[in-house]
């Protein structure tokens, strides 16, 4: 298989914890097409799944919904951009923070993992019909 240097793929998922395995499968499928090492692929899949989990947990507060979220993975000239679009509650950027890492308790690690793995995390107001647009970016050397 020829490794690709440019990618742009997107998929919709029902906003549900049951979709997280599909989010991981989609991410793995996309990164299989790129010549980067397996450890980095695993980290990127984790970051994407954590961001999707945050949509389920926080934007929708775990409520059952038929709404879908969209994930778009783009790679262009070594710049990886992962976009998340949802129609949940507007994200209050001031409240998006991970817990202090030495205050050991369950929860609050997902955002920490995302920040550890990615170079930048940006929240934007989504363009209609979306409410939230999260952008994760990372420079990829391949």
């Amino acid at each position: 298989m020829v490794a690709l240097r440019q990618i742009s793929e997107q998929r919709d998922f029902v906003v549900s914890s049951a979709s997280l395995k599909d989010v991981r499968s989609f991410s793995r499928e996309v990164f299989e097409k790129v010549n980067i090492d397996q450890d980095l692929k695993d980290e990127l899949v984790l970051a994407i799944a954590e961001a999707a989990q945050n949509i389920v947990k926080h934007a929708y507060q775990g409520e059952d919904t038929e709404d879908k979220m969209e994930i778009k993975i783009s790679l262009n000239n070594g710049e990886l951009e992962i976009g998340f679009f949802d129609k949940g509650r507007p994200v209050d950027k001031e409240n998006v923070r991970h817990r202090k890492i030495d205050d050991v308790k369950p929860g609050g690690l997902g955002t920490f993992f995302i920040q550890q793995i990615m170079d930048a995390v940006v929240f934007k107001e989504g363009e209609k019909p979306w409410i939230n647009h999260l952008i994760l970016t990372k420079k990829i050397n391949y």
Binding site: S17, K21, V45, L46, Q53, V104, Q116
Partner: protein, 99 residues
């Protein structure tokens, strides 16, 4: 995620298998917590866990803390490479009992 529980004396060994994410954390807690509450030492065998996210890590923390409260231990055994990496990313390798 699938699981198998075996008993060796006062030790309950929980073999977890598959991917542990937010979708299965309640099930994981339902398996592990009663064993801790029964004041058993619990060994979590993570050899066959190929993926764990922050929700899975929360189950490990909650189990560890519950066992500490009861004067017992939860020991993580045969940790797969991918799970160990996430434990280290969370800076928990000195906090959880890795055996």
């Amino acid at each position: 995620m699938s699981y198998k529980v075996t008993e060796e004396g006062d030790v309950s060994i929980v073999h977890l298998d598959g991917e542990i994410d937010m979708d299965v954390t309640e099930k994981a807690k339902e398996i592990i917590m009663p064993l801790i509450e029964a004041k058993k030492e619990v060994h979590l065998n993570l050899k066959e866990v190929q993926y764990m996210d922050s929700s899975g890590i929360s189950v490990l923390i909650e189990s560890h803390q519950k066992a500490n409260e009861l004067g017992k231990k939860v020991i993580l055994k045969d940790i797969s490479k991918s799970v160990l990496k996430v434990i280290m990313m969370a800076k928990l390798e000195q906090i959880l009992n890795l055996g």
